[in-house]
Amino acid sequence: MSSATARPLVLVIGGALVLLAAGCASAEQPQVERVATVFEDPSADASARCDLLLPTAREQLEQDEQSSCVEAINSLPLDGGDVTGIEVWGGDAQVRLGQDTVFLSKTPEGWRVAAAACTPRTERPYDCQLEAS
């Protein structure tokens, strides 16, 4: 193979990777934002908010609070406010809101909240009050 034919080939491969990553991420952003904003809206139906949790996160919440999710969810500081930033990388996402940071994972049913009520820590993972086990 000559350099004239090889260079475009690798450029196409590299470019395709960038475009796929960027394209997929941008296509997922509206769904990620919708799930995060509904989940972080205290006025929304508690049952609907609980349905947006990753099953393992819901189980952990009910175990920690020794009550049903519907009863426990309002005890957590989940009033994030306006969305200030969204990051989607593969099957994982992060939504920054005015007063909270939410992490989401993609499931067969769509995007679900994996961790919320998260506080950043220097050089360490976020400290999340609600998190999938």
Binding site: S3, G14, F103, S105, P120
Partner: protein
């Protein structure tokens, strides 16, 4: 020496065989990688992905590109190193005393070109200068491009892991300074250097009858640059 053609398949059996092996092993990597990825997803209650989604993912992309870049780096370094460095007795080395770019006569350039010489070897000027370095240059360019692709795919895969670990994603420049990028690069580079170095030494003392990578079985250990 130009041999008589014995048909396309036999004339190109080496490259065709390795081309087919490349495709088969790439498919094998895609299928086994998909199974591994989906097993982890199911264990965490997350969505599984299709083969199409997997082979266009950053996870698959970085696994492929980080290997490709190291192969092209190996050949780029080996092509340039063997201009100047020798290994006494090795099939991978020129004979002692021939270090360097060699004379036009040795390289069949200038007035020493032959009717069958490539056009760019005959024409002189920048085209002959470029053609004289085309093999190493292509390997170097392919290395840089695949290393860059590895850096992009690795960045996306790294950020996905960061989010899964409840950490902030990083910028591309931030990823270039991350241990993950350099660990992936160095672990591939060291294996290539080992393979080239050991082949250069093993070919001094060991033989493989009939292989172009080996000296004739009865050739002395001191014979350098010969192959049978």
């Amino acid at each position: 020496m130009t041999a008589q053609s014995r048909g396309f398949l036999r004339d190109n059996s080496l490259s065709l065989a390795f081309g087919a092996l490349f495709l088969l092993t790439l498919v094998g990597q895609a299928l086994s990688g998909l199974a591994d990825y989906n097993a982890q997803q199911v264990a965490q209650g997350l969505a599984t992905v299709s083969l199409g989604d997997y082979v266009t993912s950053s996870t698959f992309g970085v696994d492929v590109m980080e290997n490709w870049q190291s192969e092209y780096l190996q050949f780029f370094l080996f092509i340039y190193a063997t201009v100047w460095l020798i290994q006494l007795g090795s099939t991978e080395s020129k004979p002692v005393g021939e270090e360097g770019k060699e004379s036009d006569e040795d390289q069949k350039l200038g007035r020493h070109t032959e009717p069958s010489s490539p056009v760019w070897a005959k024409v002189g000027g920048w085209r002959t200068a470029l053609y004289s370095r085309s093999l190493g240059t292509l390997m170097g360019v392919l290395f840089l491009l695949t290393w860059a692709a590895s850096a992009v795919a690795g960045w996306a895969a790294y950020n996905s892991e960061q989010l899964a670990d409840r950490e902030d994603p990083v910028s591309w420049l931030g990823y270039l300074g991350a241990a993950d990028f350099w660990n992936r690069s160095f672990q591939n580079w060291q294996s290539e250097m080992l393979a080239v170095g050991s082949m250069a030494v093993f070919s001094v003392y060991l033989r493989q009858r009939g292989s172009a990578e080996s000296k004739p079985v009865g050739e002395s250990h001191a014979a350098t640059g010969s192959s049978g």
